[in-house]
Symmetry: C2
Subunit: 882 residues, 2 copies
């Protein structure tokens, strides 16, 4: 029979699939001799079975749980539900991947009216027992029975007010007696039944609640955001309680073994004496910094520092540790690899390598490529910053620079962001309900909570700028205002956050490019040694090209020639070209466009020097360039010597029902070969000029878009090669250029063997390929895609991460067919997927030569390419940081 429950002694750190991250680590810590309260784990398989059985705990599982509980009773010498020496437990969720705040926890389970009495006698501390009981009733009611906490909190506040006390700890045992009575009344009024007195019933209900919470909406949103599969299930950890709230020789805290914001090798932690864990992270009381523990209890402090080092060495990574002190004895409740900012991740990885704890390859694997975005993106322009007014100061909880309009609820922030606004979410404190609003915000500002508060932890995970605990501000979420620096900020007012300093500014502030740390350079160097894929960039201007080279680009994979057409100085000539109704008129207009195009290419070639530059000939439907309004048409008609009606008729005739599937790409070159001819001329003349003037050996690659029929490429080749070869011959110099195509139409992929007869390279245009393979227009499908992600029809947005099954199949097919015809064919990708790490892994696996992405994604692509190569070299297991 399958085992569904494991005691901590039976597990180890490699059993995360089965025991979840928390369960595996508790088992591991227990086995290496750390002071961990004993317990057992109900497996993720049990969770899945629970769902398979229609959300039922089945009898055999109950029995197995109670059997392990009996073992735990033996070990602790206490009795669960016993009348003397009662055993209390915590029940916590623990999935394979850490999902902070997403899952629910119940503490002090096992308490009932009877054991409260026993325990009060045995401990001699009735106040602590009642404090635990009131916490348990509220938590159980909230998590298990879904009775909102607010019912309890308002009564609790009422009693505190009546007793004239500010802090929870100032309530007496008698006061708490009253709280417990009132809490049980609320419970009964809401649930219809008395608060359950049978600890076994409490336990089974709690396990069920954890299982149930796996499927709640917040958990689903989190998994969707982080691409965690929905079928992993969660484990449940049942652990003997230790108490941080039993008196002033008790306490609880959390700590990072290194600074999670900077990576600096200093312990960063917070704790509260006489408190339970939730008090620290919930931001109700402001906790003390870990160093103060040395003043209170130097022995415990030293023991904790030693254990922390031991854990970091054991796990060979920065740890995020939860601990409790019960009557002067230290317990470790949990350890896990700590979430960190990108800057910290770089520093930690490099310093761990320098300390010989990990190898270079491991260091490279430690950085989540998408996270690099944080260190690459702009910071505030120092000059603008100097002018700005500071309106508050909080904790530097997650670095970065954010400007945006203030919104006070997740819903409002999300809605505004979907309207294209930049948003800063401002809350007294955040909670798991706010996740979607945080995802959609540029930055998060809270008035309460420390650097390990919900807002701080989640924001760092997302790489979002966050200023937490800015106590100088007062937020009124009801009225949608906050006061700071003597002024009232309303919904829609602009502020700026600096997550690296914790400063909050009035208004919006300009940004500048970041300076990259030595750790960054070192780690990227290791990545470059490891990777096999080439990295190019998509760039339409010399500025973009230079930025990309700075970030390590080895060439241009896509220059969109049409972007140049929109320039104000040129659009008139371009419109004239488009609306010409004869080849002659079109050629006249093209002659005006030629010098502009040539200049553009000269600039790009000079910036890229000897590196290859892939230039795509005109792609979009022509009507995109057209004048839209009658006035514009009238003006253009005048300059073209046409009547308004004539030009209007031409403009109307260019209307298409589905422009994405219309007269664009290679179809333009077939209809109007003179356009392809002009563009080829501009490219080749520019290359010749740069070679002659600067002695740079330019490598242009002329790319024909949207080819789906091999004959299209043959047809256009005559024009392109005819033009190019003649110019090169006339110039009397040597100039090597390539002629190739995009594979972005399904039929292009399916006939790639024939297309490769004429094409010296393929560049996969996975944006269009995705549109056509799915039959989804990007411009129209945003709402549908969101709906599909919510409904679990999509795991990823296929426009962000390549769909390996459909689109990927076509890419792979084209790779095979293309190489069959032309073994040395150059293969790359230039769709926006080219900067997505998962897609880059796929590109490595199918054996492309390079990926091309926007300049700011180049380092991310370098890192992802390295990781793909390292996984091939060492196996998937290396990839242990999620």
């Amino acid at each position: 029979m399958k085992q569904y429950v494991y005691s901590f002694k039976e597990g180890n750190k490699d059993m995360k699939d089965l025991l979840g991250g928390k369960g595996a680590n508790l088992a591991e810590m227990s086995n290496i001799g750390l002071p961990v309260p004993q317990g057992f784990t109900v497996t993720t398989e049990a969770c899945n079975e629970y769902y398979a059985k229609g959300k039922q705990i089945w009898p055999e599982l109950r029995e197995e749980i109670f059997a392990k509980m009996a073992e735990l009773e033996q070990e602790t010498g206490k009795t669960f539900g016993g009348t003397s020496n009662p055993l209390l437990v915590s029940v916590r969720s623990g999935a394979k991947f850490s999902m902070p705040g997403m899952m629910d926890t119940v503490l002090n389970l096992g308490l009932n009216d009877e054991s409260v009495e026993t325990l009060s006698q045995e401990s001699g501390n009735r106040r602590f027992v009642l404090d635990s009981y009131r916490r348990f009733i509220m938590m159980f009611a909230d998590v298990v029975m879904e009775i909102p906490k607010s019912y309890f909190e308002s009564v609790f506040d009422e009693i505190k007010e009546a007793k004239g006390v500010d802090e929870d700890t100032h309530l007496s045992a008698d006061d708490l007696e009253e709280v417990v009575v009132r809490f049980k009344e609320i419970y009964k009024a809401r649930d219809g039944h008395d608060f359950p007195q049978d600890p076994k019933e409490q336990l089974i209900e709690a396990v069920t609640a954890v299982f149930r919470s796996w499927d709640n909406e917040r958990a689903r949103i989190y998994r969707n955001t982080y691409h965690i599969p929905h079928d992993l299930g969660t484990a449940v950890n049942v652990q003997a309680m230790v108490f941080g709230n039993m008196g002033d020789d008790c306490g609880t805290g959390v700590a990072f073994t290194r600074d999670p914001a900077t990576g600096e090798n200093v312990m960063l932690g917070e704790f509260l004496m006489n408190a339970q864990g939730e008090d620290v992270v919930a931001g109700i009381r402001t906790p003390l910094s870990i160093e103060h523990l040395n003043d209170i209890n130097p022995e415990i402090y030293q023991e904790f520092m030693d254990l922390s080092e031991k854990l970091e060495h054991h796990y060979r990574d920065m740890q995020d540790i939860e601990f409790t002190i019960e009557k002067g004895k230290l317990y470790i409740l949990q350890t896990r690899n700590g979430k960190r900012t990108a800057a910290a991740a770089l520093r930690v990885a490099v310093e761990l390598e320098e300390a010989d704890l990990i190898t270079k390859d491991e260091a490279v694997m430690r950085i989540e490529p998408d996270q690099l975005d944080q260190v690459l993106h702009p910071n505030f322009d120092p000059e603008a910053l100097a002018q700005a007014t500071v309106i508050a100061k909080g904790l530097a909880a997650s670095p970065g620079a954010a400007s945006g309009k203030v919104y006070f609820t997740a819903e409002a922030a999300t809605a505004a962001s979907q309207n294209g606004e930049k948003v800063v979410l401002v809350r007294t404190e955040t909670s798991p309900e706010d996740i979607e609003g945080m995802i959609n915000a540029e930055g998060i500002l809270t008035a309460r909570g420390g650097r390990t508060s919900h807002a701080a932890v989640v924001a760092r995970g997302m790489g979002k700028c966050c200023v937490a605990g800015a106590e100088g501000i007062r937020v009124n979420e009801e009225l949608k205002v906050f006061r700071a620096n003597g002024r009232e900020y309303k919904e829609g007012d602009e502020i700026s956050l600096d997550g690296s300093t914790g400063l909050v500014y009035d208004g919006s502030i300009a940004t500048v490019a970041p300076e990259l740390s030595g750790h960054f350079g070192k780690l990227m160097g290791w990545a470059d040694e490891a990777r096999k894929l080439g990295i190019r960039t998509n760039a339409d201007t010399p500025q973009d090209a230079r930025q990309a080279i700075e970030f390590g680009a080895e060439g241009i994979g896509l220059t969109r020639t049409e972007h140049m057409f929109f320039d104000e100085n040129r659009i008139a000539a371009v419109r004239e070209m488009i609306t010409s109704t004869s080849e002659e008129a079109r050629r006249k207009a093209l002659d005006k466009v030629l010098p502009f195009q040539k200049d553009d290419f000269v600039g790009i070639f000079e910036a890229m020097e000897h590196r290859p530059v892939t230039i795509r000939l005109l792609d979009p439907p022509l009507h995109e360039f057209l004048p839209q309004h009658d006035k514009e048409i009238r003006d253009l008609a005048a300059t073209m010597g046409l009547s308004f009606e004539e030009l209007k008729a031409t403009v109307d005739s260019l209307h298409e029902f589905n422009p994405m599937l219309g007269h664009r790409g290679v179809r333009l070159a077939v209809s109007y070969p003179e356009i392809a001819e002009m563009q080829t001329r501009a490219i080749i003349e520019a290359a010749i000029q740069v070679k002659q003037d600067k002695g740079i050996d330019v490598h242009p690659e002329i790319m024909i878009p949207l080819v789906g029929i091999p004959e299209e490429l043959t047809y256009v080749e005559e024009v392109v090669r005819g033009t190019a070869d003649q110019l090169i011959e006339e110039a009397g110099i040597e100039l090597n250029y390539l002629y190739g195509t995009m594979i972005e139409v399904p039929r292009g992929a399916l006939t790639a063997d024939k297309i490769a007869k004429n094409a010296e390279f393929f560049s996969f245009g996975t944006n269009d390929l995705t549109q056509m393979t799915y039959g989804f227009s990007r411009d129209d499908a945003a709402q549908i895609i969101e709906d599909y992600l919510k409904k679990g029809i999509f795991e990823y947005d296929p426009f962000v991460t390549i769909d390996q099954e459909g689109v990927g199949y076509l890419v792979q097919k084209a790779v095979e067919l293309g190489r069959q015809t032309r073994p040395d064919i150059k293969l790359g990708i230039c769709g926006e997927h080219g900067g997505d790490p998962k897609t880059i892994h796929f590109c490595h696996e199918v054996g492309l030569n390079y990926v091309s992405c926007s300049p700011y994604r180049v380092p991310i692509a370098r890192l992802a390419a390295a990781q793909a190569a390292l996984i091939e070299k060492h196996g998937e297991a290396t990839h242990h940081v999620k």
Copy 2:
């Protein structure tokens, strides 16, 4: 070394690939002992080699031609270019497939100033020799040197006028002497050189001209229209001349062994005494019916009748024969399977089978499926016809009924047709330049020419209605008018043609369904015995369903539920549904639509009885149903109790940039499951009602469109099966329905194995699949497709005939994957390709269960399916009628 020239004795009728149709037949006839003037054939391979060598006749080919010429000299006892007893030859093109009027011919080649003298002396008929010489000069100038005939014709007419003669034959030898002198002057003036006197030079130039003509634009258009590959090449037949113009004991003619319009077993021919072949077909002199030959020369007549019968038996098909009588001796110049109307094809095939000349299978193979269109399509309504005014009468050259606006040039006809007008092309006579105009016209009317004239032959081939030689009308193509019945008809005026009676009517006339002949029923019965594919129809109404059953449909492959939505009585409810912004409001509107939908299905189920009916749930983008104009919006807003602005905003929000790739198909069912629920309810309630009321065992098949992601189908299945199963259970009857999907998105085909887990059937929606595989919007790409066909990028319009390489690959892949998961999965096609014979062959080959097409294509599909099965049974050779 490869042989490039074959004498007739070396060939036979199976060598069409190499010798062309004409060459193979000349060889065959020669070998079975028919009186064929001897000669030789330059092969199609020589033509291809000519192009491969950059349009050059190479020295070895010259030598091989001259060597065969030497053999011919020996056989005929004459000398080519000789000063006594000179050998004259004809040079004709002859490709594998007959291309009437497309290729060029030169007669009397070998004549020069010197041989004219010799021949005059030897024949004693200087007039005939000069007549031949003037014809030769003009033909050579026209065909070989591209000097327009009109230069010569105008001079010829001038001389006829000066001499006061009407007919060519009335010109004397002296007159013709003058003609020859003037013709040679024109030649020199235009070409810059004297008319070539060296027969060998004449021959090589003529062979070159034939090769060249293979690639002229008219030939290309013809091949594109009839899907003849462009790389076959043409052969050149060089044949000793016999003369029909040597005097009154000479003549020439053409004849069909059966009536090519009706198929009746009577000889139908025309001839002219003292004439060369071109005179008969060019319509310059109106020829005599073949029976008159019996009066002029009964012996020759009998000999011709005997030879005709011999040829028909030999070729086991109706023959189209060209003959010449030279000084009382009959020569057969050419025979080929005669082109015929569909009615004639049916009759001839059935009667040849009855005469035991061919088998039933062969009879089935004899009909070109597309041709059936002719006998299926409506004729004029007899009552409307009785009211109509006859304005002229011509020959019933090609049957059918056509009404349309009059146009006088191919260009104007083509342009008007592209504007959506129905066009009748009216010409004095047609020529190969008119092909495109004829393709675009509903019917063709000519004032001159017989039933074997260019217009008649080409129209029959196209299945177009044609009235030829309507001598009562006078056409002025310059002024764009014709006079008939005392009235002037201008461009754009409407007339009607009846190609079965030769009558021309004023105005446009209503049409009715045709009555089908017994031959049709007999042959379709044979086809049904042979075919393996099932044939269904696409039908949205009970009327369509009944028509399709009459034509032999075995079920419905596609009912489009949205067509029902456009009905005037329903559109208001549909619009209300679409613009509802809450599920509740949407359900209220859907409740109004439900009874309409149910009624529709009741009607269709009753019409189809026990046959399966596939119903596709709502497919098109919702905005298609929306009110377009402000007034409509205002009206709808009023009935919905909304403000104009509210409704306008909703309408605007439904706008899509690429609706084809937008919110449609299964995506609607995912967003608004209540729509799928209502439609399922309508289908199942209708099926239950028809079963209960009429005892009909209905077989509904519920089809989900546009599925590209297996999870979409799973998601919607819950709604559909949930609704359907509950209704069936409530009704307490047995009702079997299927749940399936369209495969019309490339990704759907690529994930068909997973989709088949939920789908009990696939129906290939090849319209959308073609759009997405190519990235071509049908609504926008017409112009592009036409351009691609012209430029040879497309061989077929992929929206008419399935693209086997790309779209077909996906279909085949989906068939494999689908059967892998579900071996008994039902597979069909319901795109418009389902009625295209070439596509049907493909569907047979990949092993679909059925094809579905519009009612009028059902017989065509039955026949094409039979032919596909017969080719599989007997091999491709059976398929000898092109």
